[in-house]
């Protein structure tokens, strides 16, 4: 658990860049590297309860949480109805919608899911597991 505590200790730094950026557009001087960190690269398994502010909580989201948010946006449903065990057919998505969702998830996470793996996707958890598998390769 030491690693997650280290990550949560360094993550609060990311909360400051938005304010600095607004001020920096006026003054023109800020550490550009801080603002360039991609939020989805941080893959915390622990809960988000120790993240203080809302911005940091978004960055701390796990893969399954991001997957659920994207699916809810794509299908225009309530994010709370999308649970890991939900099947796509329950959410009102037919097979072509599933293909579109998988494609948008591939683009968002920067992975490439093969055609054989993408054949039998039926639930949200399967997609998240596939993405995790591709990311760890």
């Amino acid at each position: 658990m030491a690693s997650t505590s280290v990550i949560s200790a360094t993550v609060p730094q990311l909360a400051s860049p938005p304010n600095n950026a607004l001020a920096a557009n006026v003054t023109g001087r800020y550490n550009g590297l801080k603002c360039c960190q991609l939020p989805q690269r941080i893959n915390l398994r622990s809960s988000t309860k120790n993240c203080p502010s809302r911005a940091v909580r978004i960055i701390c989201q796990s893969t399954i949480q991001q997957v659920q948010d994207i699916i809810a946006t794509q299908l225009s449903v309530d994010p709370s109805t999308v649970q890991p065990e939900t099947k796509f057919s329950e959410l009102g998505a037919d097979s072509l919608d599933t293909v579109e969702i998988v494609m948008s998830l591939e683009e968002k996470f920067g992975v490439s899911i093969g055609e054989q793996d993408a054949e039998n996707i039926s639930s949200v958890k399967q997609v998240a597991d596939l993405i995790e598998k591709q990311r760890s390769i």
Partner: protein
Amino acid sequence: MSATSAAIAAYRAQQRQRVRLLYRRALKHTRDRAVIRDLFYIEADKRRAEFDVNKHETSIEAIDRLIEKGEQRFEREKHPDPYIKPWALGGSKWQRNPPIPEEVEIVFDFGRETHD
């Protein structure tokens, strides 16, 4: 044409699989052709509409014919140089630096070899 209903159901499932793959490939090649995102959304809607027009077909031969026509059209209109992620299958970095098997041990004695 098989007589048993289980074989027909299996054939229909296979048709559904072909349609899914065709849609997936068509969408990806549309994205490669229409790189500007706004234009891609317009084109993707058109593809989806083309698939949705024939959504309610039921006869197996008609579905077969439609899939054939779709696949031939895809062959004609696909992108000649599709974008594949480099580390994915078919990309340029695929298996470029595979991990060394664990039985192999690297001995770091460069410059200190004894040449026995």
